[in-house]
């Protein structure tokens, strides 16, 4: 398309850039960011995104509480995080400026919609004077004040749309402008608009006009001296799509249940940031994916457990407060040894906490949040795309070992996105389901010698009638049994079964750095990106540092104890107060140190390098 070619201006080549779109909740920043991301993916850059939106549906227009942001980091090299500091901030109003300016690097580009800097808006966020007129701001950053609202109106002069509708399209102006600035193609966005507004030609027309107006504004005016180009990254050959963690979780669950050949049933109750998984899965009825929006989290997991009893794949999705409510049922699943996948998309806690922010603080709840000794496998995802494989693993373990399994994701990877190499469906591992059929020798708790799994005998199978119960039962027969020695034996069998899974998961090994060294940075979950980036920097500056990342949090990989001993020190960065660190210390008696910043957002790369450097001193 013509609009992607630029004939008049310089194109400067960059290695990478981090930009953030920020505006009012009503300004469409998530959509703008999403479209920019798609365009960037098509260019072949590596990328990582971080949406950040308020807990209120629509806080008062122009207020700080209502600011919504979308950050993207893209590069011609491999990257791991959405970026610590911004090269460009697009601020659609004073609130967006106030809330985000601190993250813009000195000398960075600040693009603002000057029309929004009127008295009312300034007052809403307690600006006593217009910050754009502040000389310090002008000297610290490259400020581009653009009348985005007015230019949008001008672009739509004569349109039949109401003033309100006209104003709503201004985000596309910003998008167009940024596409020009970073030489991104707009075809996909145009296609998407065509599709979305196919029944509303007026709106479609207006949107396209404004999008192009933004692009042409960059091209034509003298405001920007050059535009930027970021080369395709050298990423592994393959077919890619951009994917969020929740989308990857959805695909992982569908793929795993297909591979297992049983009917999946998701029992769920909406909760941020897990709800989108329910929304997405509800669209796959043609795949036999059954979704059940229950009256609460307890019912949701109950329905899922009933499904597993009947031979389906029971799944439940939630976030921390919902896990609280599910814990009694998780214990019933542990006791009755039925497969079940519990997806916890973690958010800031405790209590209602910060529903739209990220945190890694449900690990110990997943490990221990139930009465009695109640061991459960835990699998965690480290990046958006990794959710696919991690949740697939959770399903595999649940079925093979007849056990509930926790899958831990979090708000950051759930909503963040990255390019994802689409796996070949045929090469996905098979998940073998062995429904018991033979009557001969059947006992409901007679275990497989290797996995210690009990048989899965489902209602409808003649001759295998049996009753499951949460009361303690006899080791083999599964009949209620109150005998002391039997209980002790059962407690230990349950523990052993889960421990044994260590034989069925890969050893831990370094991601970056050598097998031995001065410092190991050990992580799990969504800190992956920041830790990798930090490790690369540390290695580059000559330190003997390595990093490793745990997918399996219970049981830990078999070689972990020995592995830890290869490093003089161990640093464990977590977005919590040191939860995995406690498990590691207790199990391996290693004096590992935590880096614990619980600020509802990904750890910054430089927080990690600083912590590492101070340990290396």
């Amino acid at each position: 398309m013509a609009v992607t070619e630029d004939k008049h201006k310089n194109i400067e080549a960059l290695e990478e850039a981090t930009i953030r779109f920020a505006g009012d909740s009503g300004d469409g920043m998530q959509l703008t960011g999403g479209q920019f991301t798609n365009a960037t993916a098509i260019v072949g850059n590596d990328l990582s995104t971080l949406p950040d939106y308020p807990a209120e549906i629509r806080a008062p227009a122009g207020s700080l509480a209502g600011v919504s942001g979308f950050q993207i980091h893209f590069s011609s090299k491999e990257i791991y995080t959405p970026g610590d500091i911004l090269d460009v901030l697009v601020a659609m109003n004073p609130a967006a400026l106030k809330a985000n300016l601190k993250d813009l690097k000195p000398g960075g580009m600040l693009i603002v919609n000057t029309n929004a800097f009127n008295e009312t808006n300034l007052k809403k966020v307690n600006y006593t004077s217009n910050p754009l007129e502040d000389a310090a701001l002008q000297s610290k950053y490259k400020v581009f004040g653009i009348e985005i609202s007015r230019l949008t109106q001008l672009a739509l002069e004569g349109s039949s749309l109401s003033a309100k509708h006209v104003d709503r399209t201004k985000n596309l102006f910003a998008l167009g402008l940024m596409c020009w600035l970073y030489t991104r193609p707009m075809e996909k966005t145009i296609e998407w608009l065509n599709q979305k507004f196919k029944d509303k030609p007026d709106i479609l027309d207006a949107n396209l006009k404004v999008l192009k107006a933004g692009y042409h504004f960059g091209e034509t005016t003298e405001v920007f001296i050059s535009s930027y180009k970021i080369d395709q990254a050298k990423i592994k050959p393959g077919k890619y799509r951009n994917i969020t963690g929740n989308e990857a979780t959805v695909l992982g669950l569908i793929a795993a249940s297909k591979k297992a050949g049983i009917t999946p049933l998701l029992g769920s109750y909406p909760i941020t940031p897990a709800s989108d998984i329910l929304h997405e899965l509800a669209k796959y009825k043609q795949f036999g994916f059954r979704t059940f929006q229950a009256e609460d989290e307890i019912a949701a997991i109950g329905v899922a457990l009933g499904a597993s009893f009947a031979g389906g794949l029971g799944i439940t999705t939630t976030s921390g407060p919902g896990v609280c409510l599910k814990s009694e049922f998780i214990n019933l699943a542990i006791k009755t040894e039925l497969p079940l996948v519990i997806c916890d998309i973690q958010r800031g806690g405790p209590s209602t906490g910060l529903p739209t922010k990220t945190e890694q603080s449900d690990l110990l709840q997943a490990m221990f949040g139930r009465n009695g000794d109640s061991p459960i496998p835990i699998v965690s995802a480290s990046t958006p795309g990794d959710c696919f494989e991690a949740v697939f693993e959770a399903v595999r373990i649940a079925i093979k070992y007849m056990t509930p399994v926790f899958f831990l994701s979090d708000g950051y990877i759930a909503n963040g996105s990255e390019p994802w190499e689409i796996p070949d469906a045929n090469k996905l591992p098979n998940i073998e389901v062995k429904f018991r059929k033979e009557k001969e020798g059947f006992s409901s708790y007679l275990r497989d010698e290797k996995t210690l799994a009990r048989p899965w005998a489902i209602p409808g199978t003649p001759g295998l009638e049996h009753v499951l119960t949460g009361i303690e039962t006899e080791v083999t027969t599964g009949k209620i049994n109150y005998d002391p020695a039997n209980h002790d034996a059962m407690v230990k069998i349950r523990a052993k079964k889960i421990e044994n899974i260590e034989n069925d998961i890969p050893d831990i090994k370094p991601v970056f750095g050598g097998e031995k060294g001065d410092l190991l940075i050990l992580g799990w979950g969504s800190t992956y990106g920041s830790i990798c980036a930090a490790t690369e920097l540390l290695i580059a500056s000559g330190h003997k540092v390595a990093n490793a990342h745990l997918r399996y949090l219970n049981p830990f990989p078999k070689n972990l104890g020995a592995f830890l001993k290869n490093y003089k020190k161990v640093l464990i960065p977590e977005i919590n107060m040191g939860q995995m660190n406690m498990l590691i210390r207790a199990k391996y008696l290693v004096d590992s140190q935590g880096l614990n910043i619980v600020a509802g957002k990904p750890l910054k790369v430089n927080s990690i390098t600083e912590a590492a450097e101070s340990l290396l001193k």
Partner: protein, 340 residues
């Protein structure tokens, strides 16, 4: 589901080898026996029955049936049962719960399972007490009831299970009593034949912690004056001498004399009326309006698609729109690009 070649069962086929551990004399025994007697008559292969329960004396029930069973956690049986039925609608799923299990901790699931018209048979054993935990008052215990936890008498108004079920939109609502085995069996059979949620309140005597709670409906001298048995198409006549009837007064039910066939004012029972008001009024009788007799029998029975019907229907529709969906398609959906 029945086929001709199907084995003929006897009651014994539904009796488990486990020792029954209720107190000797507990009303639960009669209910168990009635259920075991009805099962062989339903023409359903034994392996297709599933009994799901919560926690309570009553909830031990599945252990005593020689069927698939799930003795779950307190108050949550209906959620598990809904999951079972939603994965395999071909099963005959029965839920056993108590007044504490199904109305106290589990009250919300009762309401929601019913409104969804889950295709489940719900047997609520109402003994107006918490049996298993040794005698605290329950949501059906009468005001002023002295129990372990209410030494000066309960200060909560009781709930009427049948009113709650009707307000939740139950498509089948009935009431029966442990001492009337024949009636129980009839009701269980009718419930089994109903498509959708069948909610059955069973008065059950707990002789240890709440003995004689239902003597009004079981003792020879008084029972006929305190109970009216409902039959579809028949007038609501009751009394030792069949000398009383229920008639309508405005929106209220009222008792009237009805000697020797003088029944012209008597209400004729019709459980199939869509409007829930009739069933609501009948359900209140004797419980919320103590001057009237308690109604036993089927209060409401209407046909509506079940949750499972609608679930499978949507699946069929979706499949007909996108018949050949494969994992590949899904994985490769959306904007993709190739790096080479």
């Amino acid at each position: 589901m029945a086929t001709l070649e199907q084995p003929k069962y006897t009651k014994a086929d539904f009796e488990s080898a486990n020792d029954v551990r209720w107190c000797p004399g507990c009303g639960d025994y009669a209910i168990l026996s009635a259920v075991q007697s009805v099962m062989p008559t339903l023409g359903i292969p034994k392996e297709k029955f599933v009994f799901v329960s919560g926690i309570g004396c009553s909830s031990r029930f599945p252990h005593y049936m020689n069927c698939y069973g799930f003795h779950t956690i307190h108050g949550r049986a209906l959620t598990v049962a809904s999951g079972v039925k939603s994965i395999n609608p071909d099963l005959s799923v029965w839920v056993v719960t108590g007044d504490g299990d199904g109305l106290s901790i589990g009250g919300n699931h009762t309401m929601h399972a019913i409104r969804r018209n889950q295709d489940l048979k719900i047997l609520l054993f109402n003994n107006k007490i918490y049996g298993l935990t040794k005698g605290q008052y329950s949501p059906t215990s009468e005001l002023g009831k002295k129990t372990k936890s209410t030494p000066m008498g309960s200060i909560d108004n009781p709930i009427n299970p049948v009113s709650l079920a009707i307000a939740s939109g139950a498509t089948f609502v009935a009431r029966t009593i442990d001492k009337n085995v024949k009636h129980m069996m009839e009701i269980f059979k009718e419930a089994a034949a109903h498509k959708g949620t069948a909610f059955i309140e069973i008065y059950q005597n707990c002789l240890i912690f709440n003995d004689n709670a239902f003597v009004d409906y079981t003792e020879k001298e008084v029972k006929d004056d305190h109970s009216v048995y409902l039959t579809s198409g028949k007038p609501l006549v009751y009394g030792k001498e069949s000398d009383k009837a229920i008639k309508l007064n405005g929106f209220s039910a009222q008792s009237t004399g009805a000697k020797n066939g003088d029944l012209k004012n008597a209400l004729i029972h019709d459980p199939t009326v869509k409007d829930k008001a009739l069933a609501y009024v009948l359900g209140q009788m004797g419980v919320e309006n103590p001057e009237l007799p308690v109604a036993f029998g089927v209060l409401r029975k209407v046909e509506e698609p079940t949750y499972q019907d609608r679930l499978l229907d949507q699946e069929k529709q979706a499949l007909s729109k996108k018949p050949n969906a494969s994992i590949e398609d899904i994985l490769n959906a959306g904007d993709t690009w190739v790096v080479s």
